[in-house]
Amino acid sequence: MIDRRTLIRSGAAGLAALGLAPRLAFARAETDKRFVFIIQRGAADGLHTLAPVGDPAFASLRGDFAQDFASAPKLDATFALHPSLATVAELYGQKQALFAHAVASPYRDRSHFDGQNVLESGGASAYQLKDGWLNRMLGVLPSGEAKAIAVSATIPMAMRGRRDVSSYAPSALPQASDDLLSRVSLLYQGDSQLHGLWSEALETRQLTSDLAADNGRNAAATGALTARLLAPADGARIAMIETGGWDTHSGERGRLAAQLKGLDALVGALKSGMGPAWADTMVLVATEFGRTAAVNGTGGTDHGTASAAMLMGGGVRGGRVLADWPGVAPAQLYENRDLRPTTQLDAFIAGAVSSHFGVEPGRTMATLFPVSKDTPALSGLTI
């Protein structure tokens, strides 16, 4: 179970948020709704997760990559789900999984570091906002008591801000210097050379904690752990899980199959761990940007633009793929190379949060993504 010594606290209420301080009894939060954000760091390939097999240009675009979808579950006339995502496909069948395709944050360059900062801060450009949208989200929830926890050694950007957030990581992860690492990131913000080097260094570091490790068992353990943190009546209500290993410049078919299997195991373990509370749980899976439409010379894909996002949970109005599909024929690509973004990820996330917690959509959008506040949040994402 949870080792107290590995608990990292940010702010005074961190320990209590986990229900680990029995003498500090907390009032049950007014909301029973749980929200989990699974970030795919490294730019997950949406075209190889949720493949547009019905697009006439797809097979020629992706070559032998398309073989992975030969017997994959077809979701509708256009899309098939990667066969590694068996649990997710099951949820889709039960109308508890909803996918959005050709989505992107406002970020249009191709740096992981900056792209993740935009995805997590909710700004329109990197370092425009100093806190994360998950932290700001705590302010609009029906209950001021709702607590958030990061299932990682450090508080990720999306959760940073003025509201207390705690974090917990399995002890195998390096912990001692993570706070220093994030401060070094800030220190190098204005230095283009060091910023570039440092973001690469951090990306490499993330590869060591990817989902594919240990044949997905790590991922399942993370899902189960998250459920233990969220399921109790006085547990946390917001959680964030960081996953790495999505930067598939080479050998993508094998690597992504393993990554997606890990993600599937994580979601499966989370769902079963939540038990009846799954009905009140919403899981968002998103990445900083997508990958090139075409396969590169090393059996992989390079940094691109639009990708796919997932929403799962007992209350999700699933069994659908939301996509204003731009097509993947050469002339349809963004800058002649990437899947063109047609849906704002911001609007998708705000729509999900708004309907899940019953917060007015305009207010949600203005709080989470103030720069995009004039874009309407997507509606109808939950039952």
């Binding site: 210097s177 401060r183 070094v184 060091l194 080097l197």
Partner: protein
Amino acid sequence: MVTASIALNRFGLGARPDEPVPGDPKRWLLDQFAAYQPRPPALAGLAGTVQIAGQLAAFYDRQARLRQEAGPRGRRATAAVPAETTPPSLPGTAQPPPAPARDALQQSRQIAQQQMRGHYLAAVGARTAAALVTPAPFAERLVHFWANHFAVSADKLELTGLAGAFEAEAIRPHVFGRFANMLNAVERHPAMLVYLDQAQSVGPDSAYGRQVAARGRRTVGLNENLAREILELHTLGVRTGYAQGDVTEFARAMTGWTVAGLRRGLPGRANVAELAPGTFVFAAALHQPGARTVLGRAYPEGGVEQAQAVLDTLAVHPATAAHVATKLARHFAGDTPPPAMIERLRAAFLKSGGDLPTVYRALIDSPEAWAPAPAKFRTPWEWSLAAYRALGLRQVQPQAAVGLLNQLGQATWRPGQPVGYEDTAGSWAGPDALMRRVEAAERFATRAGAALDARTLAPRLFPAALSPATAQAIARAESPGQGLSLLLVAPEFLRR
């Protein structure tokens, strides 16, 4: 007083909190010409080449004796034996020596390795200590610069032992002398003669060469390695107009330049028993007879003076002046050195006949070297010294210094190639390298504890040159240790 920060960091080895900020930065640098200690106290206890070579010679003797005692079987298996002397009908002759002999050989080798490793550790420790407490950090920087210019690499047993002695004996005495003096000391030093195979180079028509050829048992001959690197790396520079013919002719002139008593030294029977191991010797028996032509200039037949005359020419050659000027300018004014500054240093070199203090004065007088923007990304060695000095350390455990430099990717005296370590950011400013510095910084800070306050230390290290962003990051650190870590990896600390 940005210039004070430049003098301390770009010219020096980083500021120490216990030393005053120089009031007149240029004067501070010039005064170091006299303050420089060729043999500083930190190096006092180090073994010299003769002592180290004596241990190596004793090791070779021990190995030979043990092989002898092991009998013919042992000798065959441990020494190189021509294939035709082993009758094919006796398969058992290829057996290894008996176990006790093998163990003894191994043990003797381990002892020698420990000895040489000991010399290496002591010398790295002494070099580091000298750099921490020196009254002349600019001069110490020049020692490191020249040692890297005339690089040896401590990869083999002999060089592991001798690398420190090489710097102490061939580089340090000449840093404020003439370039020619340093060149001569370097090319005569056993470490260099062994490292670049000169010690074993034999003129095919020399007395020894003819003798070996007559026996018809093995071939000995010319080795061009040192001659080529002298032209390419030590003096003229690559692609400066010399041809393969010049290399070969120079190599012929160099034959006979060797060292007594080292296995990779003077070949077998030509050895001179009365000389102490590790002594430079001109072995006339190895020297290729005849006049030589190098770079269009004729050098009459002669002994040691023949190659010496070539070296004398090279030492003051215009291409050498340009080569040295470019490297010095790159070291102080940036990876892409300004042509005007190179020209100034080159002219100073040529006009003074390679008088190094004259060149250094031109360097200090060059406005390009005082540009306020950081000119260089600190190498791991420079960063480590700057960190030690910033922390106020006056000595470090040699093993710790060696370990740190290995971790950071710049093992002392082990560039692995005669060109030495690169002096441009591309070699050192990498993602993993940066991560390692951050990790090392945190270890430093952990050890320093709360004793140092980075908020007051930072402006002392970078007088009038500390960026607001760094000052703010330090001020907002959650602990003194974290503040110190951030200072040690701040942009201004990573560069100079």
